[in-house]
């Protein structure tokens, strides 16, 4: 008690230090994050918007306003239209698969079983691994000549002459349009599933046990509890998982750049990779910026909508 009493003794005016000024302290502590966001997010974003309305090149970034010319040019190319479609297709299909699998995984990992901690560690590995390393691993798995998956398929007589996937000895995953697109989706799911699963797991554990116990007492089975109680209660969390997933996938070019470089032909090209090929490697920086920013307004509106609906759905 003496300490507490000592603590409560009012300090004399004029002896207040910086540490006592909570408002100022809060500002100071927030300052690094603020500087970080402005420097690494804000300025590049403004720069990209500026570039998209100018005819800058990789060799000359002096601003010379050219209106909507970059947008007109990119819209005229079939590669851009394909990249736009692929970006939406890969993101939506992958996210649907991810949310379904993540919900199942979250349910599974909420149960008590032997090796649960190890399972959780293994689950997070794809997210913890640098995306470039993971994708290079997949590139090897899907190699046209040395794919271990092909080797296994041949060993169990599913690939080769007279087999279901035969007669060739290789599947050529990245050379066939459908298989290449499926490969990209698989890699995206592999990469982003852990994040969504962990988010949903946190959501599941936050559901009031009393509600679930009451449902059990009332005779609600597994599916009814899942679909009529857990899923509705999880919706705000699902929205958060979707939001992270959408934004991460929309802005990712590593998977495409390392795995397919947009091929075969342009069938797996996405906006981020096409922006890079056009703007950095091709030197048309203005068109690259316009490509990268094309969906920014749509994305921004989507994010605002999701966040607002999440706030409305929050269980208090």
């Amino acid at each position: 008690m003496p300490d507490r009493m000592a603590f409560e003794v009012p300090e004399k005016a004029g002896t207040r230090t910086l540490a006592d000024r909570e408002g100022l302290l809060g500002t100071l502590f927030l300052l690094p994050a603020f500087v970080y966001i402005i420097t690494l997010v804000g300025i590049p974003l403004v720069l990209a918007i500026t570039y998209s309305f100018s005819n800058v090149t990789a060799g000359n970034t002096a601003f010379d306003f050219n209106g909507l010319e970059n947008f007109r040019l990119i819209l005229a190319t079939p590669q851009f239209r394909r990249a736009l479609w692929d970006t939406l297709y890969f993101t939506i299909v992958s996210q649907i698969i991810i949310i379904i699998l993540a919900t199942a995984l979250a349910e599974l990992l909420a149960l008590d079983f032997r090796g649960k901690r190890l399972a959780r560690v293994l689950l997070i590995l794809p997210w913890a691994t640098p995306i470039s390393l993971g994708t290079i691993g997949w590139l090897w798995l899907l190699d046209s000549k040395f794919s271990p998956i092909d080797w296994v398929l041949r060993a169990i007589h599913l690939l080769g002459p007279g087999t279901i996937f035969g007669p060739g000895l290789h599947m050529n995953y990245l050379g066939k349009t459908n298989l290449a697109m499926a490969s990209v989706i698989i890699v995206y799911v592999w990469r982003f599933l852990p994040l969504s699963a962990v988010i949903l797991m946190a959501g599941l554990t936050s559901i009031n046990r009393e509600i679930l116990d009451q449902a059990a007492v009332d005779g609600s089975g597994f599916w009814r509890t899942l679909l009529e109680i857990k899923v509705p209660l999880l919706l705000p969390i699902v929205n958060v998982a979707l939001l992270f997933g959408f934004i991460s996938m929309f802005s990712d070019m590593t998977v495409i750049f390392l795995l397919t470089r947009g091929g075969p032909v342009y069938y797996t090209q996405v906006l981020a990779s096409w922006a890079y090929f056009k703007g950095v490697e091709g030197g048309a920086l203005g068109e690259g910026a316009a490509t990268a920013l094309f969906l920014f307004p749509v994305l921004l509106a989507g994010v605002i909508m999701v966040l607002r609906s999440t706030r409305r759905m929050e269980v208090t």
Binding site: A58, A76, F146, H170, T260, V265
Partner: protein, 491 residues
């Protein structure tokens, strides 16, 4: 309150520490003795131990006058990790030794070949970065951010004679009458083929025309299941292969005056040929290849013919010398009217961004000349992968009985690479027969040509439609760069 104060104290100390560290003065470089004028006698001599007897090296003495370098002059070179690792082991100490002898602080950084374009883009955008960057293909789309290198190119030509046309075309922009790069070397892109398979197919010396390639390739695939491999994927080898076929069929993307000529009967014929070649002698793997895939396929004995530099063959020599003996090296194939062209595989083009100061620029140019003067070492240490921009600097490569006749790196037969002595006769460059201008560079980087080939080979479009679609895009790209005054022509 006590905890809050402690926390505040700790955070404040960290911030002050970081601030002080950032503001700390850099170590002052020790004063360096600088000669007022210096004439360096560069004696080019063979310093490497060869495995097989070669003709006695011709010693060429070149005098390169080196100006005074101010104290603190730096040369920071960024170049790609060479496909022949031995080259990097040689070039790093070579550059540092030159720096030590001339009072220049030299640093050589190696990055992946695909990281060079983003490195140069970022450096120009930031206005800060390396002194010079070595680009593997034409950096003409960066020309506005690069220094004019007319002086060093002219000096090199004065000292070492004529520059290989494939090098000049990838470093000189006629629209500005300006050298934006200094190309010190190039790499032939010959055929690498399986001797036994082609012998069994009736071509003991490999194919010499595109008709042979189709006929022999089909026979081999039908008889053994082994396809040939000319890629149609968004990667460097596919782009070069597509252009080699177009040129050898008499077509081109542009003419010598930089007018778009892609939509021609010759190009359509070339595209149809590629589709036929795919349907008869290749598999779907060629649409999903990386730059390393055809090398790997050849090494694995699963491809009968590829277009690539000799690095694929050199790799095989190291892992399986007996299998390497079965690999033949062939020249560019002839088209239906006898045209014989193939692009160089890559080039070695040094560029100096505009932000580099005068002292560092002078050092960079002096080093370029020093490297060229000693290019026989570069060729040797790259295991004959690099070819010189200035032939006179490497007489050991071209004379009778020299390295291409008796491969110092153990080829069996020892003259396996002699076909490369004629490489300068059939090698071309991006943009052939016009210059490698920014429009050509963008077309290359956005894979329009390999995709055009791929669409027809996959049966998605007719050759005529695919070429027309490509023409629309190519004309738009030309128009854009022409408006900036960086591309000539009118059409």
């Amino acid at each position: 309150m006590k905890h809050k104060r402690t926390l505040f104290l700790v955070v404040s100390l960290i911030i002050i520490g970081v601030f002080l560290a950032a503001c700390a003065p850099q170590a002052t470089p020790a004063p360096q003795k600088v000669e007022v004028t210096r004439v360096v006698k560069q004696t080019v001599k063979e310093t490497v131990v060869v495995k097989q007897p070669v003709k006695e090296t011709v010693v060429v003495e070149k005098k390169v006058e080196v100006q005074k370098f101010a104290p603190g002059t730096k040369l920071h070179i960024v170049q790609w990790s060479h496909f022949v690792p031995n080259y990097d082991k040689w070039v790093d100490p070579f550059a540092k030794a030159w720096g030590d002898a001339n009072g220049v602080d030299v640093t050589v950084d190696h990055v992946s070949i695909t990281d060079l374009a983003p490195t140069l883009t970022a450096a120009i955008d930031a206005g800060d970065g390396p002194t010079m960057i070595e680009m593997p293909v034409t950096p003409s789309s960066f020309v506005e951010g690069l220094q004019n290198l007319n002086d060093v190119n002219e000096q090199a030509q004065k000292l070492f004679g004529e520059q290989a046309p494939t090098c000049k075309a990838n470093s000189y922009l006629p629209a500005l009458k300006e050298y934006y790069g200094f190309c010190h070397g190039w790499v032939p892109d010959p055929a690498d083929y399986d001797i036994k398979l082609w012998k069994d197919a009736g071509y003991p010396n490999g194919p010499s025309t595109y008709a042979d390639l189709l006929d022999g390739g089909k026979k081999i695939k039908d008889a053994t299941g082994v396809p040939l491999g000319l890629g149609m994927s968004p990667e460097i080898d596919s782009e070069m292969a597509a252009r080699a076929i177009i040129w050898s069929f008499g077509g081109s993307i542009q003419d010598a005056n930089e007018n778009v000529t892609i939509n021609s009967p010759e190009v359509i014929e070339a595209v149809k040929y590629m589709a036929k070649l795919y349907q008869n002698a290749m598999t779907e793997e060629v649409f999903g290849w990386t730059a390393a895939s055809n090398n790997q396929g050849l090494i694995a004995g699963e491809l009968s013919y590829i277009l690539n530099s000799i690095s694929a063959y050199r790799s095989l020599q190291k892992v399986d010398p007996a299998a390497a003996d079965n690999i033949g090296i062939g020249p560019a194939l002839k088209g239906p009217r006898g045209d014989q062209h193939a692009s160089a595989h890559v080039w070695f083009i040094y560029v100096i961004p505009k932000y580099v100061n005068a002292n560092d620029t002078a050092a960079a140019k002096a080093f370029m000349l020093h490297l060229v003067a000693n290019y026989n070492q570069a060729v040797y240490n790259s295991e004959l992968y690099n070819f010189p921009a200035f032939k006179s600097t490497v007489p050991q490569l071209y004379e009778e009985g020299s390295w291409l006749d008796i491969d110092p790196f153990g080829s069996r037969p020892q003259d396996k690479l002699k076909v490369l002595r004629t490489a300068e006769d059939w090698v071309t460059y991006l943009g052939y027969p016009g210059p490698a201008n920014p429009a050509i560079a963008e077309i290359y980087s956005t894979h329009i040509i390999s995709a055009m080939m791929g669409k027809v080979a996959r049966g998605e479009m007719s050759a005529e439609d695919a070429v027309s679609e490509a023409e629309v895009q190519i004309k738009a790209i030309f128009k854009k760069w022409r408006a900036k005054g960086l591309v000539g022509g009118t059409k």
